[in-house]
Amino acid sequence: MNFPILSTIIFLPLLGALFIFISNKKNESSSAIYISIFTSMANLLLTFFLWYSFDKSFSGFQFIEEKNWISGLIKFKLGIDGISILFIVLTAFIIPICIISCVISVKKRLNEFLIAILILETFMIGVFCSLDLIIFYLFFEAGLIPMFLIIGIWGGPRKIYSAYKFFLFTLLGSVLMLAAIIFIYWAVGTTDYTEIYKLKIAKEYQYLLWLAFFSSFAVKTPMWPVHTWLPDAHVEAPTAGSVILAAILLKMAGYGFLRFSLGMFPIASEFFTPLVFTLSIIAIIYTSLVALMQDDMKKLIAYSSVAHMGFVTLGIFTFNKQGIEGSMFQMISHGIISAALFLCVGVLYDRTGSRMIKSFGGVVNYLPNFSLIFIIFVLGALGLPGTTGFIGEFLVLLGAFKINYLVAILASTGVVLCAAYMLWMAKRVVFGNTNNTIVTKLKDINFLEATILIVLCLVSIVFGFYPEPLLNTMDISVNGIIQNHQNELTVNLINK
C-alpha cells in the first residue's frame, strides 16, 4: 500500500488547526468548532481503518514510511506495530471527546483552545508513530508548547506556577534523553530504531543510556519522587487539558519504556529492575495514601493516576507476557477511565465552580444520571471486574507474582487502598446529606455531556468483558519484545 496513511493521520489535525487559524474571527467560533470536530472525527475514522487493515499476525513494523530528512544523517521514518496502534487509536478517540467537552465548558478564546488541542494531537500521534529516535524526541518535546499554553491560558488560579513546573520538569528530564540519543547516533551510527534493534548497543554504554532515557520517562510517567508536577498540572489545567494529560501524555512515557528502554537496553533494563520496582511500589502505596487525604477531587484523581502508572511501570519491568500485556491494558484502561473521571469532575466544576469534596454531598438526589455514570467510573478506577480496570491490574499482578512475591503482595495493597480512596470520595460526593444549597439547584447532565460519558462508559465495559480485540492486537508484538529480551540476556550470560 503506497498511500501514506500514517503521515495523513499525523498531519491531518495540523491542517485542521491551520484552517481554524486562517478562518479565525474574534468572538465567532462556530466554524472553528465544526472544523475541529470534523478533522478529529475524520482522524478517528482513519485510525479505525488503520486498525482494521493492521496485520495482527506480523510482529514487525507495518505501514512503514521513509523519507530523507536531514540528508546523510537522519531519515524521517514512521511505522507501527501492535503496541503503538492501540495508543494511536486511544489518542484519536480521546481528542474528539476533549473537543466536545471544550465546546461545552470553555468560555474564553475557544478558537485558540481548539487550535492547541489539534496541534497537540499531531504531536502525540507523531510520538507513537515515529521509528527514529530524533523524530520521537521532536514530537515528544514539541507537545510541551501547546500543553504549556493550555494550562497557562485556560487554567485555574495557580496556573502559572503549574505551567512552569510542568514545562521545566519535563524539559529537564528530556534534555538528558537528547544527549543519550545523540550519543547513540555516534556509537551505533544511526538513530533508526529498527536498525538499533538489530545492531544492538554495547553493554557498557547501556547503563548510562538507560538512565538518561529513564530520567525523561520517569518524569513524564510520572514516577515517585518526580511526580510532583502532575497534581499541580492536573488541578490547574482546564478539564480538556487534564483529560489529555491523564489519558495520553502520561502514556507516552509508558510507551517509551516499553519501546525504547526495553527494546534498546535489555541488559540495563534487567539490571535496573529493582530500582523500577521500588519506585513503583512506593508510588502505588505512598500516592494512594496521599490520595486518601485530598480535599480536591482533581488532585485525588491525579494522585490515583500516579498510583495507576506505578502499576504500569511495575508490569512493564516484569518482562513476562502477563505483566507487559497487563501494563498495556492498564494504560488503555486508565486512559479511558481517568479521562472520564476528569470529565465528571469537570461537569460538577462547570456547574458550581468548585472541585472540593466537602462542598458536595447527596449529588445523587439531584443529578441521578450523572451519579450513575460517575459511580461506574469510580468502580472502574478501583478495578471492579467487568470494567477494563480490572483486567489491567489483574494481569499486572499475575505477572508480578511470577517474578517476586513481595513486590506482588505490596502492589496488591495498592488495589485495596485505591478502593478506599475512590469509594470514600464517591460516598462523600454522591451520597450522604446535602450540606450545600447550591447542589440542590443543579441541573442534570445535558445531551452532549451524556453522550461523551456514555461512549466512554460503553468502551470501558465492553472491553472489560471482552478484552480479546485489544490483547489480540498487541499479542505478537509483546511476544516479540519478550523474545528479544530473553535472547539478549542469554547472549549476555554466554558471553560471561
Binding site: S71, E141, I153, I182
Partner: protein, 469 residues
C-alpha cells in the same frame, strides 16, 4: 598583474559609500535618498559576490583571501543589514535619528567586516577590525542627545579599545615568535612548544571573545544593548556577532590549527561560562533589550561550543547556529519596533502583558520566536542547538554537552517568562497599530522560516558542505 576581480565587491562597496556620502552632503534632507541608495548598493554587492561565488583565491601577497567561507558570511551580513534597513526605517524616523550618516556608517562597518572576513594576514585583519570598531563606536552613541546612548557609546569605546589593544599586542607577539604575519605561514610554523606564540593566542582570543560578547568579556553587552537605539541594537546583536564568530573560526582553523589543545580549553571555558551566565543573569531582567543581551550571551556560548570541538563538523554547526540565530534575532527585534504606545517606543517586558488579546498575531510571533530562542522542537532554534550538540558529542566532550543541555532548561525559564506575560497576564498597555509592511514582512519571514525549518533541517548544512574544502 594581480587579479583585481577578487576585490571588486569591496571596491564597489567603498565607491558606493563615497557616492552616498556625496549625495548626503549635497542634498538637503537626504536621509531617504541615502537610505534607498545604500540598500541598492548592498543589493548590488550581493549580486557581485554571487556572480563570483567559487573557489579559494588569494591576492596581494596572499594577504587577501576569498573563499566560500568568507563569501557566505558576507552575504549573511549583507542580507541582514538590508533587512535591518527596511524594518528600522520607521523607528529611525520616529526617533529623529534620520540623519544620512546612519546608513553610511553602517556601510563603513560592513566594509571593515569584509576585510576581517577576507583577511589572510594579521595586518589586514587588524585594519578591518579597527574600521569596523570605529564605525560601531559611533553607531552606539548615534542618539547623541540621549544620555544613556552616549554612555553606551563611551562604555563600548573604552572597553573595545582595550580589547583591540590586547588583540594588537597578541598580533605583534605572534609576529615576533613566528616571524610572519601571514595566516598560512603562521599555521605552518606555530607549534606547541612555542610558548610565546601561545601567549599571543590567548591575547588574540581575548580580543575576539570581546567582539562576540562571550563571558568573561561580556560586560559591555547589556548596557550597550539597552543604551543604543533599538535599530542599532539590532545591528549589534546580529552582524558583528556573526563576523566575530567567523573570525574566531578562521583563526582556529588557520593560524592556530596546530595548537588545538591549547585553545580548546580556553574556548570550552568561555563557552560554558557564557551559557551559564547568559541564562542565569537574564532571569531577573525587566528590560527586553537587556534580556536579549543576556540571551545573546548564552547563544554565543552554544555557538562557541561548536567551535570548541575543533572539527569541521563543529565549525559547520556553529555556522548553522549563527545563521539561525540571526534569523531569530531579526524577527525578535522587528517585533520590538512594534512595541509602541502613544508614539513612544516601550522597552519594558511588563508592557507586553496580555498582548495576546489585543494583538494576537504579534503575540503569536513572539511565541514562535521565543520558543525558538529557547530551543524547543520543532522550531528552528532547536535544530541550531541540535547540530551543535551533535558535533560536541561526536568529539566526545560530554561534560560540555550535558552542561549546555542543562543550561537550555534554565534559559527556557526566562523565555517562558516573556511568553507567560504575553499570554497569561491581563492586558495593561495598549500598543499603537503600526502599519508598516516591511516590519511585518520581516517578522513573517522569520517566523515562517523558524516554524517550517523542520521540514528540511539540512537546508543550511548542505549550503555549507563545501565551505571548508
Amino acid at each position: 598583474m594581480e587579479n583585481i576581480n577578487l576585490i571588486i565587491p569591496e571596491i564597489t562597496l567603498f565607491l558606493g559609500i563615497c557616492l552616498a556620502l556625496m549625495v548626503g552632503v549635497f542634498f538637503k534632507n537626504s536621509f531617504s535618498i541615502v537610505m534607498k541608495l545604500s540598500t541598492l548598493i548592498l543589493i548590488g554587492v550581493i549580486y557581485l559576490i554571487l556572480t563570483d561565488w567559487g573557489g579559494e583565491q588569494k591576492i596581494f601577497l596572499d594577504s587577501f583571501k576569498n573563499d566560500k567561507f568568507s563569501d557566505y558570511f558576507k552575504i549573511l551580513i549583507l542580507v541582514s543589514s538590508i533587512f535591518i534597513f527596511f524594518s528600522s526605517d520607521q523607528f529611525i524616523k520616529d526617533k529623529t535619528l534620520n540623519k544620512f550618516e546612519y546608513p553610511i556608517i553602517i556601510m563603513f562597518s560592513i566594509l571593515g567586516m569584509f576585510f576581517m572576513l577576507s583577511a589572510n594576514d594579521l595586518i589586514l585583519f587588524y585594519l578591518g577590525l579597527e574600521l569596523q570598531s570605529l564605525a560601531l563606536y559611533v553607531l552606539a552613541s548615534i542618539d547623541r542627545d540621549n544620555i544613556i546612548s552616549s554612555e553606551a557609546g563611551i562604555k563600548y569605546f573604552v572597553l573595545s579599545a582595550l580589547s583591540s589593544g590586547l588583540l594588537l599586542y597578541g598580533c605583534s607577539l605572534l609576529y615576533g615568535f613566528t616571524g610572519s604575519t601571514n595566516f598560512d605561514e603562521i599555521g605552518v610554523s606555530l607549534i606547541t612548544q612555542n610558548t610565546g606564540a601561545i601567549f599571543a593566542m590567548v591575547f588574540i582570543l581575548v580580543g575576539l571573545a570581546f567582539k562576540v560578547s562571550a563571558v568573561p568579556f561580556h560586560m559591555w553587552t547589556p548596557d550597550v544593548y539597552q543604551g543604543a537605539p533599538t535599530s542599532i541594537t539590532n545591528f549589534f546583536a546580529v552582524v558583528p556577532k556573526a563576523v566575530g564568530l567567523a573570525v574566531i573560526i578562521r583563526f582556529m582553523d588557520l593560524p592556530f590549527k596546530n595548537i588545538i589543545e591549547e585553545w580548546q580549553t580556553i574556548i570550552i571555558f568561555i563557552s560554558i561560562a557564557s551559557m551559564i551566565l547568559g541564562s542565569v543573569a537574564a532571569i531577573g531582567q525587566k528590560n527586553i533589550k537587556r534580556l536579549l543581551a543576556y540571551s545573546s550571551i548564552s547563544h554565543m556560548g552554544y555557538a562557541l561550543a561548536g567551535v570548541a570541538t575543533g572539527s569541521v563538523s563543529g565549525y559547520t554547526s556553529t555556522i548553522i547556529y549563527i545563521t539561525i540565530y540571526i534569523i531569530m534575532n531579526m524577527g525578535t527585534f522587528a517585533c520590538l519596533y512594534l512595541m509602541k504606545t502613544d508614539g513612544k517606543y516601550s522597552e519594558k517586558i511588563e508592557d507586553l502583558s496580555g498582548l495576546s488579546k489585543e494583538r494576537p498575531m504579534l503575540a503569536f510571533s513572539f511565541l514562535i520566536l521565543f520558543f525558538s530562542l529557547a530551543g524547543i522542537p520543532p522550531l528552528g532554534g532547536f535544530f541550531a542547538k541540535f547540530f551543535v550538540f551533535m558535533s560536541v558529542i561526536e568529539s566526545e566532550m560530554y561534560a560540555l554537552a550535558i552542561i549546555g543541555l542543562l543550561t537550555t532548561v534554565i534559559s527556557a525559564f526566562y523565555y517562558l517568562k516573556v511568553i507567560k506575560i504575553i499570554y497569561f497576564d491581563e492586558n495593561k498597555v495598549k500598543f499603537d497599530d503600526v502599519r508598516n509592511l516591511s516590519i511585518k514582512a520581516t517578522i513573517f519571514l522569520s517566523c515562517l522560516f523558524l516554524s517550517l525549518y523542520f521540514i528540511s533541517p539540512s537546508i543550511i548544512g548542505s549550503l555549507l558542505n563545501e565551505l571548508f574544502i
